[in-house]
Structure formats: C-alpha cells, structure tokens
C-alpha cells in the first residue's frame, strides 16, 4: 500500500513537498534488503583484513572474487559454466516436454488421468535422488544419466502444474467457447491455452529451480567439469573460496534463467500485469 503513495501524491498539486521523502523511500526500500548481506560481507572483509581471523575456512568476499576472476582468466570458468548450462538446458527441455505432454493429456482427458495419474503420483513420492544408482547402471556415468536426473526433477512440477491448470479452467469460460462453436483445436488454442498460461509459467519456474538443484546433485556424483565439479574439487582440495565462488555463480545463473522465463512470458501475461497496476494506481 505504501508504494502507491508517490503516484497518488503526484496527481494532487498540494502534496508536492510531501512527495520528496516518499520518492526517496521508493529507492531506499529495495536497498534495505541489500543492507544486511552487504554489511556482513564488509564486516567479514574488515575482520580478515585486520588480521583477527585468517579467513581460511570462511574466505572474505575479495578472495572469492579473486578466485572467480582467476577461473575466468584461465578459461576454466567458461568451460564449467557451459557444461552445467548445457546439462540444465537439455534436462529442462526434456522434463518440460514430457511434463507438458503428459500433464495436458491427464488434464484434458479424464480416462487418461485415471490411468496415468496414480502411477505418476506414486513415482513422485520417490525422492528423485534415489534414481541415481539406477540411472547410472542404465545410462552410464556420463552425460545421459545426469540429464535424465535433471529431467525427472523438472518433470513433476511441470506435469502437476499443467494438469492442475487445465482442471481448474473456469467451466463458464469454456461454455463461452462452446456457444461460439469452438471445438477441439480451436477450443484449446483460444480458450484453454491462454487460461492455463499463468499457472504454466509458474510451474516452469518451479521446474527450472528444481533443475538447478538436480544439476548439482548430478555433478557431485561424478563429473569432470561443471559448477558442481568445482564444488567437489574445492572440497577435496580444501579450497573454500572455490566452493563459494561456484555457489555465487549458481545463484547468479539461477536468477538469470528464472528472469529469462519471466521476460519471455511477459507479453502473454500483460492482462494480469494490468490487474496489478490497476489495483496499485
């Protein structure tokens, strides 16, 4: 509610002076969230710099940054990031395609749901990491088993999201489609797809989050490159700065790819956006 204040006040001419402090707070408020981590980081930097701690197990930010630049300069970093991104992309793609297809079939066709859904739900109850030994036996220790594991992680939220979204499409809106004699494909394209899109985007973002989680698991199990390998290598060689560097890069990549989905979906969800704006203004 407080965020509306500047807009409201700008529209009235008497409140010009009052607008100044609230405009300040508009920029100040996001900064509040940054305050704690930055203070802690600077504090730790200071502690190590002044020699109160040697920072060997918990390296200061500067040392993490140095590690990243060193890795980047040697070309190692790009290679590891590329390997991890490639695995996540492939696993995500397979998981999304399978989850979307099966979710759509289960949501749209109740016979298929009765047939399919109990099995899928039972499989979902298995902790996905339990598949690892089996995947390694079946698919080998290299890329295939890793991508399969990521795909499994991505599959379930997408499947559930798509099925749930289709099942919860407003029957009254579907009826509008029927009165205009939409059938089959036209009904899917003009009513069902736009209606499920918001929930679908959410499930994609959840799926992507799980994809990043599972790529770490996959790379910890046995890999010669990738950010997960950097983690393991850092542990085995006692290089905490390298572990933290990999973690920071995971965070950046995860946020970036999530943001990509948001950007790509933006134009299609403008009608929801407008709702938020209308309520805010």
């Amino acid at each position: 509610m407080i965020s509306d204040a500047p807009v409201l006040q700008q529209s009235s001419d008497t409140a010009e002076s009052a607008a100044a402090p609230s405009r300040l707070s508009r920029y100040a408020r996001p900064m509040l969230g940054v305050l704690l981590p930055v203070t802690l980081a600077l504090g730790w930097e200071l502690v190590v710099w002044s020699g109160w701690s040697n920072g060997r197990l918990v390296p200061p930010p500067s040392r993490i940054f140095t590690t990243i630049t060193e890795l980047a300069r040697s070309g190692e970093l790009v290679r590891h990031i590329a390997a991890t991104l490639w695995r996540v992309s492939l696993g995500f793609a397979f998981g999304v395609v399978a989850g979307t297809l099966l979710g759509a079939i289960s949501g749209y066709w109740s016979l298929a749901r009765r047939l399919l859904d109990p099995t899928v739900q039972a499989l979902r109850a298995i902790p996905s990491l339990a598949w690892v030994p089996l995947f390694i036996l079946w698919l080998g220790i290299f890329e295939t088993s890793k991508i399969a594991l990521i795909a499994v992680g991505v599959f379930f939220p997408v499947y559930l999201g798509v099925m749930g979204a289709i099942l919860s499409v407003d029957r009254k809106i579907v009826e509008v489609g029927r009165t205009f004699r939409l059938s089959g494909f036209a009904m899917i394209r003009r009513i069902l797809l736009p209606a499920v899109l918001p929930a679908y985007v959410v499930s994609l973002r959840v799926g992507l989050g799980l994809g990043w989680m599972f790529v770490v698991a996959a790379e910890l199990i046995g890999a010669s490159e990738g950010l997960g390998y950097l983690l393991l290598d850092g542990q085995q060689l006692g290089k905490p700065a390298q572990i933290l560097a990999a973690i920071v890069i995971f965070a950046i990549l995860g946020k970036l790819t999530d943001w990509l989905i948001e950007i790509a979906a933006g134009p299609f969800l403008r009608w929801q956006d407008a709702f938020g704006r209308a309520k805010g203004a």
């Binding site: 009254k172 009826e175 509008v176 029927r178 009165t179 736009p194 709702f275 209308a278």
Partner: protein
C-alpha cells in the same frame, strides 16, 4: 420461427427439471420467462442454446433442429464471462474469427461505438465496471447478428440504476436488427418493460403455466397506470403458479412488490 415442442429434461440425479414445454416464438418477438426458483427457466434456455440436450422433445429454429450451439443463436449469461486475456475489442470480436481482419475490425468498432465504449477498446476486462462488462458481453453476442438472442438473468447482478440503463440500451440495440429475444428473469418490472409476451412457469416439474401478452407501445413508461396493470397481472399469475393466495392488488402497491423473488 423458434418452435419448442414438448421439451423435457430429467437430470441424471433424477430431478425432473422441465416437463413437456411447448411454445412458438415469432421472429423478432421479445419473450420474458418468469417463474419461481426451480421452475426450469435456465434449463429451458440452455436447451434452446444447445448447451444441454433435452431428454425428449425438440427445439427447432426455422425448421432446423437445435441440439448443439448454433450460429444463429447467441447467449448472454448472468455474468459477463469476458475472456480476461483479451482486450475489450478482441472480446467483442471473439465470435468473428472467420471474418477477414479488416471486416472484423470494422464491425467491432461499430459495436463499440454502439454500446458507448469506444474509449475502452484497448482496456482489459478487469478494468471495466459491472455494467460496462455486461455491455461488452451484449456487444459480443450481437456482432455475429444472431436471429435469436438468449439472456439468462442478464442484469440481475447489477445495481438498480445500471439495470434500468441496460434494459433501455438492450431495446435500443434490439431495434437495429430485431432478433428474437428470450429473456429469463426474476424481475417482474424487467419482464413488463421488455417483453411482448411473458411466459409464466410453474415449478416441480417446470412447465408452462400462463402467457401474458404485454400490449404496450414502446418506449414504455414505467410509471404509467397501464404499466402497473400489466405488472399486476403478471404478479397475480406468478402467485397462482405457486399456489399462493392472491392478495388484493387494488390496494396501494408498496415498492417492495415491484421485485419478485
């Protein structure tokens, strides 16, 4: 002509919603269907729309049997049911997907103008008031120029002033192409303002009880004594349909009786 021949509907749970309903409705006629709750008004409307199939009996429009939604039959529901992801203009053009884009744009622009929402063309449905949204729904149903327009308590969710506005507006729009209007309503006032003929239904099972011709010219003055007379006869018929004792309607009428629930 729209012909209903012994239309019956029994739901799978055994509820006998509609029993042998027959009526003939001339092209361009305005019909109001009124009756107690559970009298099968909406069931009847949905059967005419082709949304639900009748258990027995037939609905025919110009000798063509109706069993599924038909291009010549439009429907307006109690809620506007606009598609939230389409702009107002695209909502109105929803039923015109087969037309070339320029022709569609033209028709939509004309319809927007006609319902007085030209400035809202690019707005999202969420940004409209209830009355505006229902006007968009009316425009959406009318642009494909249906021969029959069905209305299922279209104004019952609106406030009294907006409801009056929209009743007048509906008549105004009706005059453009004069489709047959079949209006299900709870509101005696609304029935007498709009209809050429009021069909009174009787509940459990739903069936036709009475028909009242409203021989009043248009525009109708809601305060004229003749209007009151017709309202009284509809109310009396309604009371009889529910086996109620008919009160002495010559006594002064309180405003509370203007609406019948």
């Amino acid at each position: 002509m729209l012909a209903l021949d012994r239309v019956s509907k029994t739901y799978p749970n055994g509820v006998h919603a509609l029993a042998r309903f027959s009526a003939e409705i001339r092209q361009g006629e305005i019909i109001a269907i009124i009756g107690g709750s559970g009298c099968g008004k909406s069931t009847l409307l949905r059967a005419i729309a082709g949304l639900d199939r009748a258990s027995s009996g037939t609905v025919t429009l110009d000798d063509e049997a109706i069993s599924s939604p038909h291009a010549k039959i439009g429907i307006i529901f109690q809620e506007p049911r606009l598609l939230p992801w389409l702009s107002v203009a695209d909502n109105i053009g929803f039923g015109l997907a087969d037309l070339p884009a320029t022709e569609r744009r033209e028709k939509v622009a004309r319809a927007l103008d006609r319902v007085g929402l030209a400035d809202k063309a690019q707005a999202w449905p969420r940004e409209l008031s209830g009355g505006q949204a229902q006007r968009v729904a009316i425009a959406r149903a009318l642009v494909p120029q249906p021969e029959v327009l069905l209305l299922d308590e279209p104004f019952s969710a609106l406030d009294a002033f907006t409801r009056r506005d929209l009743q007048d507006h509906l008549l105004d729009l009706w005059a453009d192409t004069r489709p047959t209007l079949i209006l299900v309503t709870h509101d005696v006032d609304e029935a007498v303002v709009l209809a050429d003929r009021v069909l009174v239904m009787r509940p459990r099972p739903g069936r036709l009880f009475d028909q009242i011709e409203i021989n009043l010219g248009r525009p109708r003055d809601r305060n004229s004594s003749l209007f009151e007379t017709f309202k009284r006869s509809v109310l009396t018929s309604l009371d009889r349909s529910l086996d109620r004792r008919v009160p002495d309607r010559d006594a002064t009428q309180g405003p509370g009786q203007a609406m019948w629930w």
